[in-house]
């Protein structure tokens, strides 16, 4: 914290020191449960080679769609790969796509939001129009179009989802900038001759950080969902790489849907659990970081 003195005023109405934040966060039971599950999932993703019982890419042509057994806890898929091992490896894809996409959205949203909020005028107007344009397209259709055009490589999936997800963070940062500009510490920084970059970086952004952290968390949840939808439709992560979404792709086949639920239901639950936990985390962070916020999903 470089601007401890700046925060003096806020400290009284809402304590933002890390211990107070942590205390408030722990009171949010579901959020705490969410973070425990997420940490477990991250450990599973990191140590996937040690946890997975089999090679997730090994094709056993003679044993397609085999039922669960002690060797293959969730059976074998369409071309005889171990479903359980793929499920474990897929956590790497979902989590990394979620985090990196949200990171891309964060960078674009903060940079453009700062420019629009700080300078206002024509820059603000043009960026606002661009944001309107982005929002007027059904994200999933345009994302499919772009990913297909650029190639369905995992990096493209991450970047495209990220690039199309900046509008929320942009609007948030822009709004925060506009309201923070009305405050005295901004005026004092400017009159002391600080450069626009320095004012934004040292004075405006640190004050907007709570709201941005919450928005990025929720963005991560959305990005995981988008990746799974794309991969389910066959326009995202491509086999042999396993993603929870592309594991569900097989269930579009009526016979697999009916006869092999253990093949498609676990990845579905995995997506739901992960996204739910990230959303709980976001909700808990909102309550903990920004107790005065009225915008929260939880209003107590």
């Amino acid at each position: 914290m470089t601007n401890e003195s700046n925060n003096q005023e806020q400290l009284q109405e809402s304590d933002v020191t890390s211990s107070a934040v942590w205390k408030r966060f722990r009171k949010h039971k579901v959020a705490t449960a969410g973070i425990v599950i997420l940490v477990t999932l991250i450990l599973v993703a990191v140590f996937a080679p040690f946890i997975a019982p089999n090679d997730p890419y090994e094709v056993r042509t003679g044993r397609r769609l085999e039922a669960p057994s002690s060797e293959f806890p969730l059976g074998l898929d369409r071309i005889g790969r171990c479903t359980f091992s793929r499920l474990i490896y897929a956590s790497r894809i979902s989590l990394s796509v979620g985090v990196i996409s949200a990171g891309v959205s964060l960078i674009i949203g903060v940079v453009l939001g700062s420019i629009a909020g700080y300078y206002g005028g024509i820059a603000d107007h043009l960026l606002g129009r661009l944001a309107d344009g982005m929002l007027s397209l059904p994200a999933i259709v345009i994302i499919m179009t772009i990913v297909l055009a650029l190639g369905t490589h995992i990096l493209n999936v991450m970047v495209v989802i990220g690039v199309l997800g900046w509008v929320g963070i942009f609007r948030l940062v822009r709004g925060q900038m506009l309201s923070l500009r009305e405050q005295e510490f901004y005026l004092s920084a400017v009159s002391l001759g600080a450069s626009p970059f320095k004012v934004v970086k040292d004075h405006l952004l640190p004050n907007a950080i709570s709201a941005v952290i919450v928005a990025v968390t929720l963005r991560t949840a959305a990005a995981i969902l988008t990746e799974s939808t794309l991969s389910f439709l066959g326009f995202g992560i491509q086999p042999p790489l396993a993603s929870w979404g592309n594991m569900l792709n097989a269930a579009q086949n009526q016979s697999i849907l009916v006869n092999n639920p253990y093949m498609w239901a676990p990845p579905g639950f995995a997506i739901a659990l992960t996204v739910l936990c990230v959303n709980f985390l976001g909700d808990g962070l909102r309550d903990a970081l920004d107790p005065t916020s009225q915008l929260g999903i939880k209003q107590d």
């Binding site: 129009r129 344009g133 059904p138 994200a139 999903i297």
Partner: protein, 323 residues
């Protein structure tokens, strides 16, 4: 009001031009082509290229012209709402969209109406009875609704209700071979996809209405209405609810692209022959004019819907005046 509408219509033009230009050039990067698709084989995959006739088709489709000429020709037609012809079927793109869109509108529109009808009483009651069991159930459901992917809900519903219980057809709009089935048969085919879409929407709409109601109920005019001795029923329905509906209209307006984008997933799962299926097919077949046309159509539709939402505020809330 007329001036406001005219201004809004004018401000759509740069947005549409931006969308058109971007989509037109990005689709050109797609690997594979519609011609490869026509000659068998999956577009985008390597395989035997058609030797005879391919050049002829390229010329016919105008694909041999320089890119900027193609763009200019397309833009001139698009200005008259003519998005060219499908590269595959040679029908006008707009005609295929007009054929397909009413079906999507039927599905998503019914789901939207149903979700609003369900959300209003639930949202109002959970606001009036804050922290009751119902309130907690609504909060929990809305978290689930935003976290479970719609395709998983859809597949689960087909698995349970169509495959195991055999209550509903597995997919499609009507039995194979029938053109105009009776209303009840239509409803039988619609019920599962409509429920899947609307349950998720209803949960989040109810949340927004709950917040709106909580905010409105603490306002002075509600206290005034109560102190006049009006019944709780009149206070809630006549004084509080209309004001609490405004943020909900905003949310529905903002969500329209998401709602109609969702048709891609729902129509795939339920084999519903609407615009979502059209989109997926066009992408798979590399029918570029179709892809661009669909994107343009969605953009137009959403911009107009947002305009309608803004106009409808003025109808719900007489304090809002547009100059």
């Amino acid at each position: 009001m007329q001036v406001y509408i005219a201004k809004r219509l004018l401000s759509m033009l740069p947005v549409l031009l931006l969308v058109a230009t971007f989509v037109f050039f990005i689709v050109q990067l797609m690997p594979g082509s519609v011609i490869e698709y026509m000659f068998g084989g999956v577009a985008g995959e390597e395989g035997g290229l058609p030797p005879i006739g391919a050049e002829h088709i390229r010329e016919e489709l105008g694909l041999d012209l320089p890119m900027h000429v193609q763009y200019w020709n397309w833009l001139r037609r698009a200005a008259r709402l003519d998005f060219g012809d499908s590269m595959l079927t040679r029908e006008p793109v707009i005609q295929r969209i007009i054929d397909r869109f009413p079906r999507t509108l039927l599905l998503m529109g019914t789901a939207l109406v149903l979700s609003i009808i369900v959300a209003i009483p639930i949202g109002v009651i959970s606001a009036l009875k804050q922290y009751s069991v119902l309130d907690h159930v609504v909060t929990g459901t809305s978290f689930l609704a935003i976290s479970i992917p719609s395709f998983f809900v859809g597949l689960g519903a087909v698995y349970i209700f169509s495959s195991l219980l055999r209550w509903t057809p597995v997919g499609g709009m009507a039995p194979v071979g029938t053109t105009s089935p009776p209303l009840l048969v239509r409803m039988h085919y619609m019920i599962l996809p409509v429920l899947v879409v609307s349950l998720r929407q209803a949960a989040s709409f109810a949340r927004y209405l709950r917040s709106g109601m909580l905010e409105v109920i603490s306002k002075q005019y509600v206290s005034t209405a109560r102190s006049k001795g009006l019944s709780e029923y009149v206070v809630v329905l006549k004084h509080a609810l209309p004001n609490a509906l405004i943020p909900l209209i905003t949310i529905i307006g903002i969500r329209l692209p998401v709602i109609f984008g969702g048709s891609v997933v729902i129509e795939r799962i339920f084999s519903w022959p609407g615009i979502g299926s059209l989109t997926l097919n066009a992408l798979q077949q590399r029918d570029l004019t179709m892809v661009v046309g669909i994107n343009m159509f969605f953009a137009l539709f959403v911009l107009f819907a947002n305009l309608l939402a803004d106009i409808s505020y003025a109808l719900v809330d007489p304090r809002i005046r547009y100059g």
